[in-house]
């Protein structure tokens, strides 16, 4: 939207309307027995719990000055259980049903943009969460009157819980958007249920810690606000990441799906780097930098798999947006759809992360991170790129008629096979032992972390380097063709009357 568009949007504020998805989903939500039934059950449980607490208290001779705190703890467990477990499940199941692989709901072929659809789904889940929270609020506020918990703690815990529920909802929407068959989605549901137990446990633990310390007392400290801001930022960034991923998943394949995801990841990578560096500067401890380095490494490994699953063919509509200027085109190559550009983007991020982290670790002597961290970073990255380029080569040479996502699968299978097959062989030769697992296994990415001997480490690095160089040579022609073909098409696009 250009400046005039933004101006006209605000001038015509009377024409603003709620997201259609929110209206439809909420209408359906409040009428559905699933939501209303769950809400009623939730209220009944809250009511019975408070009744139970008050009745047991009435038998006590001495007044319980912690009754409010105990009741609040029980309410937190109930609310966390209901909202972390039920709302993401409800949201995910609904979206998954609509995104059925062979028969998606017709709302996905309306003129609603994928961003509006996902935002609508997310907003609706947030409203339902708000419904549960507001139902619980009077009970929780009441605990303050019974002593044992201060109001800031009540609101602070509720706020954090809400943030977690929203992030969980966004993850559920993302999982539901994945183009998978029903059995796979069912497996994800089971996995999600187990994970939600872990999340509920951690949330309750954090809430109890906050209650013991009392948020009201901590609010004056600077560290409290830094910690809060960091936690909120991580939650928002995580929800944002799954939001852009979900949007990319429901966007037509002909669109520039990679652009927004890569821009977003680059932005949070930059932001994370700056914040971590600020943290290092403040504490003087270079270890803090690893809070940026390790997550970047993990995210980029996932991004590498997704990148090599990209098609080489760039659609006409994406081609039409390729900049004419050479400099802009170079930048666009790394951010637009396509495996070749994606490899460049991942390589740039990983190389910059490694170099910056190393520079900072060397500049600040107060660090417990030893040189082996740098070794495994480089070796595993080299192995990951070798696997990926090998998979791309195999796909291109032997299975080019099959979908490009096979390349990503090959890379995983290659890494897995290289790690497991030698051990299986040793098992059948009756020579499998811990020593053999920890011994040098060239080509096995996981073995990099097990090897302790300096010489063996160098052998790993050398092997990965030679393999990577070979794969780079084998893929060079393909890569250069991709660079050469990355140009805007001649002629104007057709216009719909």
């Amino acid at each position: 939207m250009n400046l005039a568009g933004i101006k006209s949007h605000f001038v015509n504020w009377r024409e603003w309307e709620l997201n259609p998805i929110v209206i439809k989903e909420l209408r359906q939500g409040v009428r559905s027995w699933t939501v209303t039934g769950m809400l009623l059950l939730f209220l009944v449980v809250l009511f019975l719990t408070s009744l139970g607490f008050l009745m047991t208290q009435s038998f006590d001779v001495s007044p319980n000055l912690q009754l409010g705190g105990s009741m609040f703890s029980a309410f937190v467990i109930i609310l966390a259980g209901a909202s972390v477990f039920f709302i993401p499940l409800y949201t995910g199941v609904r979206v998954a049903a609509e995104r059925h692989v062979n028969n998606p709901d017709l709302l996905y072929v309306t003129t609603l943009s994928p961003t509006r659809i996902i935002f609508g789904k997310f907003l609706c889940s947030a409203y339902i969460a708000l419904l549960f929270f507001s139902a619980c609020m009077p009970f929780m506020a009441f605990t303050n009157l019974l002593r044992g918990v201060d109001l800031p703690t009540v609101f602070f815990i509720l706020f954090f819980l809400f943030l977690v529920v929203c992030t969980a909802n966004m993850i559920a929407i993302f999982l539901a958007c994945l183009p998978m068959s029903r059995p796979f989605k069912f497996l994800f549901v089971i996995y999600g249920i187990f994970q939600s137990f872990g999340v509920i446990g951690s949330l309750v633990g954090i809430s109890f810690t906050m209650m013991r310390s009392g948020v009201g007392a901590m609010m004056t400290g600077r560290d409290f606000w830094i910690g809060t801001a960091t936690a909120v930022a991580i939650g928002v960034m995580l929800a944002g990441l799954f939001f852009v991923l979900s949007v990319a998943l429901i966007t037509p394949p002909s669109a520039n799906r990679a652009l927004v995801v890569r821009i977003y990841l680059t932005a949070i990578w930059l932001l994370g780097g700056i914040l971590s560096f600020g943290w290092v500067m403040q504490t003087g401890n270079a270890d803090r930098m690893t809070a940026w380095t390790y997550p970047t490494f993990l995210i980029m490994m996932c991004a590498l798999l997704v990148t090599i699953s990209n098609s080489d063919q760039i659609s006409q509509r994406v081609r039409r947006t390729i900049p004419q200027s050479r400099l802009k085109r170079v930048l666009a190559f790394a951010f637009f759809n396509g495996a070749a550009g994606g490899l460049v983007w991942v390589a740039m991020i990983l190389a910059t992360t490694f170099l910056l982290s190393r520079r900072i670790l060397l500049a600040f002597p107060k660090s417990t991170v030893d040189s082996s961290a740098g070794y495994w970073f480089v070796t595993t990255t080299a192995y990951a790129f070798s696997y990926s380029l090998t998979a791309l080569f195999i796909h291109r040479k032997f299975l080019s008629k099959h979908p490009p996502k096979l390349a990503g699968l090959f890379a995983v299978l290659l890494a897995g096979a290289w790690a497991i097959v030698p051990s299986i062989g040793l098992f059948f030769l009756n020579r499998l032992s811990w020593k053999s697992v920890e011994g040098l296994q060239l080509g096995n990415i996981f073995n990099v972390f097990a090897v302790r001997d300096e010489n063996e480490r160098h052998q790993h690095l050398l092997f990965a380097g030679v393999w990577l160089a070979l794969m780079l040579a084998l893929n060079a022609g393909w890569f250069l063709r991709q660079v050469k073909n990355f140009r805007p098409p001649p002629g104007a696009p057709p216009v719909l009357e």
């Binding site: 309307e17 259609p20 209408r27 017709l106 309306t110 003129t111 037509p252 002909s254 006409q316 719909l496």
Partner: protein
């Protein structure tokens, strides 16, 4: 608006649902899409409506590719599936209102559009009924209403008459002709071929993902059914002349397969209309008391039976 289906191919694993088909149709035309079950009709229609993506080929709406620019194409296409997706806990009015919003209609314009469509599809009286509680025929009406609410230029209807009662079918037929008169391009698939003959300008006959016949109805009829069947009925009380008439006809040129059907004589005429006229004159001159001499036109059903083999994938 010109709709061009170009070398469309769709594979589901090893199954080729649509095998390199091409055809085109324009605004103001109703194009019939005919084929046995599993022929690839629904897949083709879903590709045109941007629900599926083709393995190869493309569909162009005035040059806009449904593969490259599905978001643009969606503004122009209204799709009526063979069954209305089951939406729980939503009324007809809310459903139509949602789709009007989803297609960007706002404020009064939206209210008017939804009300007009409710009236057009005759659901005004039951607009607050839940979708799940509707009969199949009513669901078809709502589905059509959903597709029409944003006034698309192209309508793709997959078996819209299935499950409709005779009155609703007649209404649907009239509705489609009205829409064609409003310059909509309509692609309709149906197993009720006699109805398609009456309303379609053109037809595509498809089987096992391949096009068997395509063109205007007249062209296809001429190509696939070159013979015409003629029926003769004699005046009541003169049926004793039937064997004599039958004998006479069998000796006449251009006539094949003469047979008695109930109280009538039917035969296949290989000649043109002038030949038919000559035969009638001769029979009257030979004192046959003819009360009815009619040509029974070959319809889509005959052609369908002639050209298809009932193959499915």
């Amino acid at each position: 608006m010109k709709i061009e289906v170009k070398n469309l191919r769709k594979e589901f694993g090893k199954t080729v649902a649509v095998d390199n088909i091409s055809f085109s149709f324009d605004s103001g035309h109703i194009f019939g899409f005919v084929g046995p079950n599993g022929a690839g009709k629904t897949t083709t229609m879903r590709i045109i409506s941007t629900i599926e993506e083709p393995t190869a080929g493309d569909v162009l709406l005035n040059g806009i590719s449904v593969c490259e620019e599905p978001e643009l194409a969606r503004r122009a296409v209204g799709y009526v599936p063979d069954t209305l997706p089951a939406h729980a806990d939503i009324t007809i009015h809310e459903y139509l209102d949602f789709y009007a919003r989803a297609y960007g209609l706002r404020g009064k314009k939206r209210t008017q559009a939804v009300e007009a469509i409710e009236e057009f599809t005759n659901v005004t009286g039951i607009r607050d009924k839940h979708l799940k509680a509707l009969s199949k025929g009513m669901k078809q009406r709502v589905s059509l209403g959903r597709a029409l609410v944003y006034d698309p230029d192209v309508l793709v209807l997959d078996e819209p008459a299935a499950g409709l009662d005779p009155r609703a079918r007649v209404e649907l037929r009239e509705l489609l002709m009205l829409l064609a008169a409003r310059k909509k391009a309509i692609l309709i698939s149906s197993h009720i071929l006699t109805e398609l003959t009456e309303i379609c300008n053109g037809v595509v006959i498809i089987e096992s993902g391949k096009i068997l016949e395509t063109g205007t109805i007249a062209e296809v009829l001429k190509k696939s059914a070159p013979r015409r069947t003629v029926a003769i009925r004699l005046l009541e009380g003169n049926h004793h002349q039937n064997p004599q008439l039958l004998k006479e006809l069998l000796q006449t040129p251009f006539i094949e397969n003469a047979r008695e059907v109930v109280n009538e004589i039917h035969f296949d005429l290989t000649g043109d209309e002038a030949a038919a006229c000559g035969i009638l004159g001769e029979l009257i001159a030979k004192k046959f008391k003819i009360i009815e001499f009619r040509q029974t036109k070959a319809n889509l059903e005959d052609i369908f039976m002639n050209v298809t083999k009932g193959g499915v994938q």
